[in-house]
């Protein structure tokens, strides 16, 4: 039977190119694939665009990528957390670009990227700074703004359990952005806390079917 399992974290992130757009799952620390991010740091890819809900916490995960100068741009909804001092300093120094996207639009744009949708009209953000310069349209009396899909070259996914076919389940609110991101990248890499035998995940409860996943690593 086919296997998408890779032996270690280095193999998991092998080949990520400079300049890549990297979708990274997680909301704060929940579901953030820290081991994969550390492996990406070791792998060396630079000039990255990072798509995540946040812009890194303290000195680990995405903040480490930032601190090591690997990130050109962050696309997120909420860069300003109590412990996002690494991003803050780089941003204020003009060393990293920022695109702020309302959280629900961010989730929907990533879903659209994975679902082959070319764009969608959303009511979120209408009349605000974040819709400036964007096309709007009144539909059945309500104003909507046109938003575009987001796709990544790579997605780093933090899952709970997975099998060698790439089927994944998540745990509680660590699901967050992971399922959409898994669908929206050319290369989807999942870290799981536990690798389970094929057939042991309930087919009714698989959240990310294996078709979306290219590599699975235990971490």
């Amino acid at each position: 039977m086919r296997s998408k399992l890779v032996p270690d974290l280095a193999a998991a992130v092998d080949g990520v190119a400079d300049g890549s757009t990297v979708l990274i799952g997680g909301f704060g620390l929940a579901g953030q694939p820290l081991a994969l991010i550390d492996a990406l740091l070791d792998q060396g890819a630079a000039d990255l665009t990072i798509v995540n809900n946040n812009a890194g916490n303290a000195d680990f995960g995405i903040a480490r990528l930032l601190a090591n100068g690997r990130v050109r741009k962050v696309v997120c909804s909420f860069p300003r957390q109590s412990d996002s001092y690494v991003f803050d300093e780089l941003y204020r120094a003009g060393k990293v670009d920022l695109e702020v996207v309302p959280q629900g639009n961010l989730a929907e744009r990533i879903r659209a990227g994975g679902a082959g949708i070319g764009g969608f009209f959303t009511p979120t953000g209408v009349g605000t700074l974040l819709a400036e310069g964007k096309e709007t349209r009144v539909i059945e009396g309500r104003t909507y703004v046109l938003e575009s899909p987001i796709r990544g070259d790579v997605a780093l996914i933090g899952a709970f359990r997975g099998d060698q076919l790439g089927n994944l389940v998540y745990r509680k609110t660590s699901r967050n952005f992971n399922p959409m991101m898994a669908t929206a990248a050319t290369l989807t890499i999942a870290s799981v806390h536990e690798i389970v035998p094929v057939g042991s995940l309930d087919p009714e409860a698989v959240v990310t079917p294996g078709i979306f996943v290219d590599r699975v690593v235990a971490a």
Binding site: F27, P102, P123, Y170, S174
Partner: protein, 208 residues
């Protein structure tokens, strides 16, 4: 006597209808949860992907995989459900939540909301789910102080801070009064030890 935060939270809780699906924004609005009696059968939504959220987790119940939108550890009630943030915001945007209570920098008499950005040149913009919450629920209520520390009214004719949503707020709860806002302008629904004239003076608004 004007209401303190806790009393205001209790006041808001009294207006939440039986069986409502409710999202309580980060900060003061989370205090409302403590005033929702079990028999009101309110279901709490947290936009990071859960319905049926329970109280804050303490001690051994703390689980890093189970957090609310403010990234605080919480608990799960019987009958809960987890879902992705795409599904969670589809739920919000699609108008399925009955009530959302948010904090604010300013609310206009027409119901415009400013609660995400001070507009300061030095401020790093960070919106999170604020704009989605502002336009998603069937009713969007604001819980805030009526005045800034400098004594300026936060209920205003037109917001000076950058907007979060246009015409989206229907009710404003403050320590001195409850207001209805919207296309018809602001109307005082309830007062706490303050006269209408005093409110007019505090806000500079032609309140009725």
């Amino acid at each position: 006597m004007t209401l303190d935060r806790d009393a205001l939270a209790a006041r808001i809780a009294r207006d939440i209808p039986y069986g409502a699906y409710v999202n309580l924004g980060i900060g003061a609005p989370t205090m409302i949860a403590d005033h929702l009696p079990a028999e009101l059968d309110v279901t709490l939504h947290t936009e990071n992907g859960m319905l049926g959220m329970g109280p804050a987790a303490v001690g051994d119940a703390i689980d890093g995989d189970l957090i609310n939108a403010g990234k605080q550890p919480v608990t799960e009630l019987a009958g809960a459900a987890y879902f992705s943030q795409a599904d969670s915001f589809a739920m919000m945007r699609g108008g399925h939540l009955d009530v959302c209570v948010l904090g604010a920098y300013q609310v206009s008499t027409g119901g415009d909301l400013a609660n995400w950005h001070t507009g300061g040149a030095d401020a790093i913009p960070a919106v999170g789910g604020a704009m989605d919450l502002a336009i998603g629920a069937k009713q969007v209520w604001v819980m805030m102080d009526l005045l800034t520390k400098d004594g300026a009214s936060k209920l205003v004719e037109a917001c000076s801070y950058p907007l979060t949503g246009v015409g989206c707020v229907s009710r404003v709860y403050t320590e001195r009064a409850v207001f209805e806002v919207g296309a018809q302008g602001a109307r005082v629904l309830d007062t706490f030890d303050v006269t209408l004239d005093e409110l007019r003076s505090l806000t500079g608004l032609d309140l009725a």
